[in-house]
């Protein structure tokens, strides 16, 4: 029995979630192979090979994979699938796009967003925006699984790196073309893997970044936002925390001006320590907050930033 992990990376760096997916794969106590798909992925492959528990890294490099498309990546995985009983990846854009297609090609079910794994085929996963947890068992010969990275410990460093093997890339599916991308460049840590997240709601208005930015920088934190703040244009889409955005579970989550709608709570209620700052003492966010402060955020957030400087 072997596990194949589809690595998530940005072309230069292996994402922290991939390291945690390797940690999650330990559940099977089986050889772990990591697949790195992209263009010029030597550095990423070397990072994957240096993870504890990884026995082999498979590299598939081609110019047309610089921006990997679902059809191409799914075809690569399908060709390899005969050697593996588990195909696993962190539950992020790439895997959410590719792995269901792989499962369809292999005629097997897929388990999305597992937060607990009991080998060989039992999983706990959130349903209904995390309001309930379902324990499920898959009966298929190949387990196709995405894992919620923040629910698993990251793999450590290996004593000696695993072998890296290059595989030829199949021809591109010419029916799909990558056109362009627009990524927000930020010096701050990535939201999904940040140790501290400071998040704001719509009530910040135009002062969203002005007020939360200094607090985030003071804490070395990523900035999150509610759907309402994003829809109103005060924060970019990729900052959205919740069922339809990013799910985070940092050590510290500071929710300022956030009422605590189900949709938002689904994305952050597994944080270790939750702080809520809201002027409404009855806001639902206070029910999940370890420390709640009833205050006007326009006063409290700058005060908090200042207090932390000392």
């Amino acid at each position: 029995m072997s596990v194949l992990i589809l690595a998530d990376h940005d072309g230069r760096q292996l994402k922290a979630a991939s390291r945690r997916a390797v940690g999650a794969a330990k559940a099977w106590n089986a050889p772990i192979h990591v697949l790195v798909v992209g263009d010029d992925t030597a550095a990423v492959a070397a990072q994957a090979a240096a993870l504890e528990g990884v026995t082999r890294v498979l590299r598939v490099d081609a110019a047309h994979l610089a921006h990997p498309l679902a059809a191409d990546v799914a075809n690569i995985i399908k060709a390899l699938a005969g050697d593996f009983q588990v195909i696993l990846a962190p539950h992020a854009t790439l895997a959410k796009d590719v792995l269901p297609r792989v499962a369809g090609l292999l005629d097997v079910a897929m388990i999305a967003d597992a937060i607990e794994i009991t080998a060989p085929a039992t999983y706990v996963r959130p349903i209904y925006a995390g309001n309930l947890l379902a324990t499920v068992e898959s009966n298929d010969p190949i387990q196709v699984v995405t894992v919620r990275a923040t629910s698993f410990a990251a793999a450590g460093d290996a004593a000696s790196p695993a072998a890296i093997e290059s595989l030829p890339a199949p021809a591109a599916d010419t029916r799909v073309r990558w056109v362009s991308e627009s990524k927000n460049v930020s010096e701050r840590p990535e939201l999904a893997s940040a140790r501290v997240v400071v998040s704001g709601g719509r009530s910040f208005g135009e002062r969203f970044e002005e007020l939360l930015g200094p607090l985030a920088d003071q804490l070395g934190a990523a900035i999150g936002a509610t759907r309402a703040a994003v829809d109103a244009g005060f924060a970019p889409n990729e900052q959205q925390v919740g069922q339809t955005g990013t799910v985070v579970a940092p050590e510290l989550y500071i929710a300022a001006g956030i009422s605590g709608a189900q949709q938002h709570l689904a994305g952050m209620k597994d944080s270790q320590v939750i702080v809520a700052i809201n002027h409404d003492p009855d806001a639902a966010i206070f029910q999940v907050a370890d420390f709640g402060l009833v205050a006007d955020l326009f006063d409290a957030v700058p005060q908090l930033t200042k207090a932390l400087e000392q």
Partner: protein, 249 residues
């Protein structure tokens, strides 16, 4: 071009859900149901393509339990031309079965584009669209926040980690719709009344030859462990003190 839109009836997103006391399933008796919000966005996008003169006909399809026509009525009231339901005798459908039944409908209807929501808010799986694309061997674009039809191509802007990406797909294709694709129109009462008169074609799932038996066994449904009750602090100073004491700063 004909567009096929798949819609699902789910627990209304504002309703808090509970597990049955024996943990066997989700308590759905007497719970308010509604069209899955992402599917409503898919219907809206299809309507806009028709209003632009790109789509000629919009067919909405719903699968499974006997009450799914509610979601179809909603789609009809929004303005889709025709609706059909695949009757499974109340069977609980998992994403792979959904994809296989949809494939059977696609083969029958021959649409040029299939629009689905990016996920259903009950099982949060997010798989049916991609699986359908795989089974049909069609290109796919997931998490669409913008969709343009340019000649024989769909140009789709997708919500991805850290930003957006634009890809172009040769039609026919499957596109899964994200929140920011559009704001669905409100259904007016007269339209809802009219939709009640429109026939909904019923297809017997047995006729499709699809094996829709579940592949994943649900062993238990339970509420997550509740969080320990927190405390209210009186000032920013006290908050910082508590955070320092708890070791997270």
């Amino acid at each position: 071009m004909k567009i096929l839109v798949a819609v699902k009836r789910v627990v209304d997103h504002n309703v808090p859900v509970r597990a049955k006391p024996d943990g066997s399933d989700v308590e759905l008796d007497g719970v308010r149901m509604n069209i899955n919000p992402f599917d409503e966005i898919a219907v809206e996008e299809a309507l806009r393509l028709k209003e632009k003169g790109i789509a000629t006909e919009i067919v909405a399809v719903s699968l499974g339990s006997a009450a799914s026509p509610e979601a179809l009525r909603h789609a009809l009231a929004m303005g889709v031309d025709r609706a059909l339901t695949v009757e499974t005798g109340g069977a609980f459908l998992q994403p792979l079965a959904v994809a296989k039944l949809l494939k059977a409908v696609v083969e029958r209807e021959q649409p040029g584009l299939v629009l689905v929501g990016k996920q259903a808010i009950d099982n949060d799986a997010g798989q049916a669209g991609q699986m359908l694309a795989a089974l049909l061997d069609w290109p796919q674009a997931t998490f669409a926040s913008e969709l343009k039809i340019e000649g024989a191509e769909a140009v789709v802007t997708r919500e991805v980690d850290g930003g957006v990406e634009t890809i172009a797909l040769a039609l026919p294709a499957v596109v899964t719709c994200d929140l920011r694709l559009n704001a669905p129109r409100f259904v007016k009462l007269p339209n809802l009344m009219m939709a009640k008169k429109k026939p909904i074609e019923v297809v017997d799932a047995a006729e499709t030859g699809v094996n829709f038996a579940p592949r994943v066994k649900r062993l238990k449904v339970a509420a997550p462990a509740p969080r320990k009750a927190g405390i209210k602090v009186a000032s920013v100073g006290e908050l910082v003190e508590k955070l320092r004491a708890s070791g997270v700063l």
